[in-house]
């Protein structure tokens, strides 16, 4: 059975994973992981890889000039650049609070883009 070798990115340990598949996309097993998150990552990475996108959005008025943002959860990896396109066009209006939704359902991922910082401390 085909085995895909991966490095887990769930945490900084970076465990070396071996994901066994049936050759048609079905995962038969994951080894090399040292936690549950590693198994979940291995299963997902060979079928529908996902990533969290972090970036900055311009702030109207310009103090501070930009505010940091992220997708609330992971989004499909192939949507990263679509999300970035929406992020580039977005302008946030101060004051922004940490956790505020900056773009709802960003790039049709079903995931919101949220602020990771407040404009006023």
């Amino acid at each position: 059975m085909p085995i895909v070798e991966l490095t887990c990115i769930s945490c900084p340990l970076g465990c070396p994973l071996k994901v066994e598949t049936d050759g048609e996309g079905k995962v038969l097993g994951v080894t090399g992981n040292t936690c549950k998150r590693g198994e979940a990552y291995g299963r997902k990475e060979v079928s529908a890889p996902e990533r969290t996108v972090t970036s900055t959005v311009r702030v109207e008025g310009g103090v501070p000039p930009v505010i940091s943002v992220r997708t609330r959860t992971d989004i499909p990896k192939e949507k990263i650049f679509a999300v970035m396109e929406a992020v580039r066009r977005a302008v946030a209006k101060a004051p922004v609070q940490i956790g505020d939704v900056i773009i709802k359902n960003v790039a049709d991922t079903g995931v919101d883009l949220i602020a990771t910082k407040s404009t006023e401390p």
Binding site: L6, C11, P12, T52, V53, T54, T56, P65, I98, K117
Partner: protein, 431 residues
């Protein structure tokens, strides 16, 4: 402040280390703490580390840098711990019963602060181009990766469009992805060593995800350009890290980012007479994270460069608790220190010694190895006069790497107090 005008604790730096030290010191009973921070906000380098991956150990969830910082800043504010922003400490002096802290700020001018204990939490700096001896011209467009990170993430500027990155430290890897997401073309990351200095997950999610080549055993041998960088030449290096003639490759680019290592920032430590350890560039400390200057403690990246902020917070909390005990006069000890000696592939340990009386139930000993290893064994040996060395701990590690900090817990109950030396050793199992 007490009537004598002397604070219990002054904390130099309001980044992750300073924040965690302040919170822990307050929780350990110190009432009168002040944090001095040179930036205009608390949080330190976390403010520009907008990527995720922070806090998995501490909070069991994955946060971005600003979110991680916000949790500590919130606690500092809730506890009512005072902090001075835009305030740069320029000198430290050990006086009879206190440490004199001299700082400057636009608002207060020259300010003298006195404290019974001081926690050094100044963090680290990036190694600059000047430390690398790269030949070539001196055009604009050469940035340390952290400077580029600040420009993009805090100030909203993209510092270049076609980028080569020298050094595969984590900040360089993170910036390879960040610049790519912002529309720049990152041509390659060149690393002089045969292995990356960054975390494996960053190789995957910052380079492989975006098809950015990582050229191991390669370095920059020429920088071209008059006003602005117009190109760089990269060549392969041999085992002695010398460029191999004939392997040169030219890249047309307008930007070169350097991610070639971090150096603890210890000018203030030196000013107050703190002894530094050559292997870390940071203070030599004991189990209480106290330096050779009584009442001066150190934690975080000023002590030794960490990979994970979670461990910075943990270490800094320990420094804060010990500083609180010092300020209260309860950090007493036997006065005898057992030195910890690195052996085999272990380059250094923090702390560099433990007081067997003063130490808590256990002391966390952090260390790094100097080379990549597989099937390694970490052994902790105690030596006592007239006796065979005693094994305190033996632990197998499938993989060890210079880029990843290791730690063990040294338990007080293992010690007799008569040890002359404790050796922390890492070597291959079959060696």
């Amino acid at each position: 402040m007490s009537q004598s005008g002397i604070h219990e604790i002054a904390i130099i730096g309001g980044g992750p280390a300073g924040l965690a030290a302040a919170i822990a010191a307050r929780e350990a009973g110190a009432r009168d703490i002040v944090i001095l921070e040179r930036e205009k906000e608390l949080g330190g380098i976390l403010n520009q580390c907008i990527h995720n991956g922070f806090g998995l150990h501490t909070f069991q969830e994955e946060l971005t840098g600003p979110e991680y910082a916000a949790r500590y800043i919130r606690q500092v504010k809730d506890l009512g711990i005072p902090y001075l922003l835009s305030t740069t400490v320029v000198d430290l002096r050990r006086e009879e019963d206190h440490v004199a802290v001299t700082s400057v700020s636009r608002r207060d001018g020259l300010l003298q602060t006195r404290a019974r204990a001081v926690v050094l939490a100044m963090g680290c700096r990036e190694r600059p181009r000047g430390a690398l001896n790269i030949p070539g011209t001196r055009p604009a467009g050469i940035f340390s990766a952290g400077t580029a990170q600040r420009l993009v993430n805090l100030e909203g500027y993209l510092p270049g469009r076609r980028v080569v990155i020298l050094g595969s430290g984590d900040i360089g890897l993170i910036m390879a992805r960040r610049m790519t997401l912002e529309g720049a073309k990152v041509l390659c990351v060149a690393e002089i060593q045969p292995y990356s200095g960054g975390l494996k997950r960053n190789i995957v999610q910052c380079l492989q995800d975006y098809g950015i080549p990582l050229k191991l055993s390669h370095t920059v041998v020429d920088i071209r350009g008059k006003e602005r960088v117009s190109g760089v030449t990269i060549a392969q290096v041999d085992q002695n890290l010398k460029p191999i003639p004939g392997t040169e490759e030219d890249f047309d680019c307008d930007t070169l980012l350097l991610s070639v290592g971090l150096l603890p920032e210890n000018e203030l430590s030196k000013a107050v007479g703190v002894e530094l350890a050559p292997a870390t560039g940071g203070p030599r400390v004991n189990e209480s994270l106290e330096t050779n200057i009584p009442g001066v403690f150190a934690c975080g990246n000023v002590l030794h460069v960490h990979d994970l902020v979670d461990y910075v917070s943990e270490e800094a909390a320990n420094a804060g608790r010990c500083a609180a005990r010092f300020a209260a006069g309860t950090l007493s000890g036997g006065g005898r220190e057992i030195p910890l000696a690195p052996a085999g592939a272990v380059r250094y340990t923090v702390p560099a010694g433990v007081d067997p009386v003063r130490m808590d139930g256990e002391a966390v000993v952090r260390f790094r190895v100097g080379r990549n290893m597989r099937k390694a064994v970490v052994t902790v040996l105690a030596e006592e006069p007239g006796q065979e060395p005693r094994t305190l701990l033996r632990r197998k590690r499938p993989v060890m790497a210079p880029g990843e900090m290791e730690q063990i817990a040294l338990k007080k109950e293992w010690l007799t107090g008569d040890e002359t030396k404790i050796t922390v050793e890492a070597r291959e199992e079959d060696a």
